[in-house]
Structures are given as structure tokens and as C-alpha cells.
Amino acid sequence: MSFSNDILTLMLFLAACAGLVGFMLAFSAILGPKKQSAIKDEPFECGIANVTPYSGNFSVKFYLIALLFLLFDIEIAFLFPWATIFKSLGLFGFIEMFVFLAVVVSGLVYAWKKGALEWD
């Protein structure tokens, strides 16, 4: 396996990629028409104007729930590799995983007690 020679090719390709990206960006910045408008500064560039301008008040509850879901959902990802070799790990692995879960649950207890899970 001629690893390093291939890598050289790869790196040249990478440099070419970076160069191409830089070239296109630079030329579009120089040549392209510049029309600054509020829509262009929108976070989601799907081409459709926002129907209503976002007001200062939006509910943080949605964000909180989504955030908590994201965090706990990802933490659970650790359970999958554990489950595949559960038997060979034995009692030690079992206890370890419960220590991990206890740490995760302590986060949940904190969020709960802080009222992050209440909708009203």
C-alpha cells in the first residue's frame, strides 16, 4: 500500500480544492453584483422571505425542550456500543454504565428542579 504517495496526491487535491473555493469566492466578491438586503442576512438561506419579521419575544421553552432532548438523546448513544459487548464486560461494565447513567440522571434532576421541563 503506497500510503504516503497517495497522500501527497490527496494533499495536492485538497490544495486545489481550497484554491478553487478561494478563487470562486474572491471572484464572486469582486465581479458579482452586491445588493445587500435584510433577506440575505437571514440565517436560513432558502430563498423565501420571512413572512413576519422575528420579534424580540420568542418562547425559550421550545429551545429548552429541544436542547434537553438533544443532550439526553446523544448521551444515550453511549449505550449502543456498551450493549454490543455487554456480556464480555461482565459485572464491572454493568456497574460502570450505571455510574454513567447516574451522572446523566443527575443532570436531568437539575433540569427538572430548575423548572426547565415545565411548560407553563
Partner: protein
């Protein structure tokens, strides 16, 4: 047919470059954050590609850890953006000029 290692590495490198350039050029905080996530995922893809090439589990396990760290980072980062939006009503990196340069 299996995808050769090179293609994965090139894709990873491209994603990384796009993310890097995006963070430097974009001014909207959310888009900048997405670009950082892109960079992290480029690294993830590289890990996976090498792990498959080497028939190792290490690279795949690393990706799990990186995913969790990325989620924690996302949680904190978005919370900070919301806190900023509440005090300053802006999402533009160029408006962060409270402290003189």
C-alpha cells in the same frame, strides 16, 4: 463496490475547507456555528474512513465522543446566541463591537 479511502478523505477535506472558509466569511452567528459543526463532522468522517481502512474500532469510538462533545457545544453555543439576542437584538457577528479594538 466499496468506496475507496481516498474519496472519503477528499470529501472530509472538502467539508473541512468549506467549514473553515464559512466561519471566516459568514457574518451570521447561526451560519458560522453550522460551519463549525461542518468542520467537526469532516473530522468525524475522516476518523470513520481511517477506522474502516485499518479495520479498527478506535476511530468509530472516537466519533461517538466527538458527537457528544459537539452536542454539548451546540447546547451552550445556541444558549449564548439566545442570551445575546435578548440583550442586543442581533445575530450579526459584525455587531459585536462593544469593546473597542
Amino acid at each position: 463496490m466499496a468506496i475507496p479511502l481516498h474519496h472519503l478523505l477528499i470529501l472530509g477535506g472538502l467539508l473541512f475547507c468549506i467549514g473553515l472558509v464559512g466561519v471566516l466569511l459568514k457574518r451570521n452567528l447561526i451560519v458560522m456555528f453550522l460551519c463549525i459543526e461542518l468542520m467537526l463532522n469532516a473530522a468525524n468522517l475522516t476518523f470513520i474512513a481511517f477506522a474502516r481502512q485499518l479495520s479498527q474500532m478506535d476511530g468509530q469510538v472516537i466519533v461517538f465522543f466527538v458527537m457528544v462533545l459537539a452536542a454539548a457545544e451546540a447546547a451552550v453555543g445556541l444558549a449564548l446566541v439566545i442570551a445575546l439576542y435578548r440583550t442586543r437584538q442581533t445575530m450579526d457577528a459584525d455587531d459585536l463591537n462593544l469593546m473597542k479594538l
